[in-house]
């Protein structure tokens, strides 16, 4: 099925290490170590969690998905807020355990449709992650300069873009998928049906496009702060963004659009380490944060669409938040390809070719910046 961005190729089966699933909860341990994105673990809700469960929360903020994977592999952490480009690696590496959803009562019908059973956290029918929230990689522009509202990514990709030299792009190998999304619409001959399932030819084409873009790029961003200052400081006038980043500029001249080609996006899910020494606290945390209020608090704090749709009904502000971030707008997200780790097995269902894996993407990405 390719209706919602083609990500729900549920039939995919991959060899993954057999990690036992927790059958029932026991005594709470004393602490839980969490690797998370900035803003996911804050005293505003951890204090209450600790009060309720007795589990002290130790947070470690990670900057990139790679760092998250690395940190999880140290075995020091119980829980991680993995994005789609990390989750598959963690699952396949045997670093996380399947989640017994029975032990997460807050994971219920309220979880928005688009975040259930995704390939990047559900494998071979087993669930490995409990969703937290999601967002799209949109096109943001400075309306003072970009006076004609763009509807296509072409202003960001084409060499003759009127904004050449003022374009900001995302700085990670996964950004290759953005090129693939663009090619999917503009170079149908390449036959790309899923931006995370690229064979070598398709990858090469994407890299060529990225190299072309490199010449017109003012900078690449990895840190949100850098992205905001790039727009605010006038270095960039157009490029990849998140809704929250646009919001944080506090300036109406910055506008955004989800272009007609669609876009990539990210969705994060809690995962529990296979080596967790505090599985009970870990389950408690995952459950606690899936509850509408807490999940909403995280989503609000970070600036994304919450996984728990029930949050949107809790207050007017919540409703406004959900509206702003299109939380329950599956139509909106149907055009969004959530980050997934590329693997050799083509997840678009092709079996006649080998797809390029994430390592190849990483190596290819280096060539973009030369």
């Amino acid at each position: 099925t390719t209706d919602s961005g083609g990500n729900t190729a549920g039939g995919l089966s991959i060899d993954v290490p057999d990690v036992p699933m927790l059958e029932e909860l026991g005594e709470m341990e004393s602490e839980v170590n969490i690797v998370a994105w900035s803003g996911f673990v804050e005293p505003a809700w951890t204090d209450e969690f600790t009060a309720e469960t007795g589990c002290t929360v130790n947070r470690r903020v990670a900057g990139t998905s790679d760092e998250m994977v690395q940190l999880m592999r140290t075995g020091d952490y119980d829980v991680v807020s993995a994005s789609g480009d990390a989750s598959l690696r963690l699952i396949a590496g045997g670093d996380v355990q399947p989640i017994n959803l029975d032990l997460v009562p807050n994971f219920g019908d309220d979880i928005v449709e688009g975040m259930k059973g995704q390939i990047y956290d559900t494998i071979n029918g087993k669930s490995y992650g409990v969703p937290i929230g999601r967002g799209a990689n949109i096109l943001q522009y400075n309306s003072d300069v970009v006076t004609e509202a763009p509807t296509s990514w072409d202003v960001a990709w084409e060499a003759d873009s009127p904004y050449a030299g003022k374009i900001i792009a995302y700085d990670a190998p996964i950004y290759i998928a953005d090129a693939a999304v663009y090619l999917m619409a503009h170079e149908p001959d390449l036959g790309i049906t899923n931006p995370y399932a690229l064979d070598q030819t398709q990858l090469d084409a994407a890299i060529d496009l990225l190299k072309q873009q490199n010449d017109i790029v003012s900078e690449y961003w990895a840190d949100p702060a850098a992205q905001i200052t790039s727009f605010a400081g006038g270095t960039s006038v157009l490029g990849t963004s998140w809704e929250i980043l646009r919001k944080l500029t506090d300036d109406d001249k910055f506008k955004s659009v989800l272009p007609e080609e669609g876009s990539t996006g990210w969705s994060d899910a809690w995962m529990i380490s296979a080596l967790s020494e505090s599985p009970n606290c870990a389950y408690a945390w995952v459950d606690y944060t899936s509850e509408a209020e807490v999940n909403g608090a995280i989503a609000t704090n970070f600036g994304m669409a919450p996984a728990n749709g029930a949050f949107c009904e809790t207050s007017d502000e919540a409703a406004a938040h959900c509206d702003y971030f299109n939380a329950t707008d599956e139509e909106y997200f149907s055009n969004v390809w959530f980050w997934t780790t590329p693997i050799e097995q083509c997840i678009d269902g092709r079996t006649d070719v080998t797809c390029t894996n994430f390592q190849q993407w990483t190596d290819a990405w280096l060539a973009v910046k030369g």
Binding site: D66, Q70, R89, S218, A226, G233, G234, K369
Partner: protein, 297 residues
């Protein structure tokens, strides 16, 4: 004085010291070095070696888990992808440019402080060049961002004069790294210039040399060890940096960026590629060690 020092300094390498003497000194020396060597070799070098052997290991392409083994594939990959070579050369160029720029700033600064400034101004300047050391690495990089962004401080001040800044580019990376590591060059250079015997300046003038000639033929050769000592910091710290490139480099990619982006995902290739900066640094250190500058850092 030199002679006297060398007289007093006991020498273990001399062929006929008395037995008792040698034993004693050996024991003292071992006592001094045991702990530091245990630390540096037992922890640091051991860790480095453990990391570097992984350069010959393989990574599972799917899970990105490292498996022991022996392969040269990582090196082949580095050679095959020209991005590695071009990034290495670019980074080397940046590190050298930072070093040269630091020298170009530090020498006049040192001469001004040591030979022109009044004692009071000298004290103020001495504080002024060390203070930025404390402002925080990230803070300084972000400050450079505000300075050099398109509508930032630099362009808003100098724009009216028709001067426009370098934006976020390799030039800004060089300026930022210079800004970060300058004190490590300026302080030793200044100290060295201060310690030059004033008589040498007199002697040079006495023999007819003007200030420029004296600086070129007397000052620079004599402060060379200090310059080299400073350059170890400016060169190696620049060589390994990637955060500056990330924040003010625009699309500039450095060795550190590549290692950082691989270190989690594909440690063997990161390890293999770290041999490049390690080689640069070690070659540099060994070649300057001959000049005795290491001891004078």
């Amino acid at each position: 004085m030199e002679g006297r020092l060398s007289q007093i300094r006991p020498s273990l390498s001399s062929p006929h010291p008395t037995e008792r003497n040698t034993m004693n000194r050996r024991a003292q020396l071992s006592a001094l070095l045991a702990l530091p060597m245990l630390w540096l070799i037992g922890i640091y070098i051991f860790s480095l070696v453990m990391l570097l052997v992984t350069a010959f290991w393989v990574t599972d392409p799917f899970t990105s888990k490292v498996k022991p083994g022996f392969t040269l594939r990582n090196f082949e990959q580095i050679i095959a992808n020209p991005a590695y070579a071009s990034t290495s050369i670019r980074t080397l160029g940046i590190a050298l440019a930072v070093t040269v720029l630091s020298i170009l700033i530090s020498v006049p600064l040192g001469i001004f402080m040591a030979k022109v400034a009044s004692p009071k101004l000298r004290a103020i300047l001495a504080v002024a060049i060390t203070l930025p050391l404390w402002a925080g690495y990230l803070v300084k990089i972000l400050a450079m961002r505000i300075t050099f962004t398109e509508e930032g401080f630099f362009n808003s001040m100098l724009g009216p004069l028709g001067i426009s800044g370098p934006g976020f580019s390799i030039v800004t990376v060089i300026l930022t790294l210079t800004y970060l590591w300058l004190p490590y060059m300026a302080v030793p250079v200044y100290t060295a210039i201060r310690q030059l015997p004033p008589n040498l300046f007199d002697a040079s003038a006495d023999l007819g040399a003007g200030a420029g000639f004296t600086i070129r033929t007397v000052v620079l050769p004599l402060i060379r060890p200090a310059i080299i000592a400073g350059s170890i910091f400016t060169f190696s710290l620049s060589l390994g940096d990637y955060i500056a490139a990330k924040f003010v480099g625009g699309s500039t990619q450095m060795i550190g960026s590549i290692i950082a982006s691989n270190i989690n995902l594909n440690p063997p290739i990161a390890a293999a590629f770290s041999l490049v900066p390690i080689a640069f640094v070690v070659i540099y250190l060994v070649s300057v060690q001959r000049t005795g500058a290491l001891e004078r850092m």
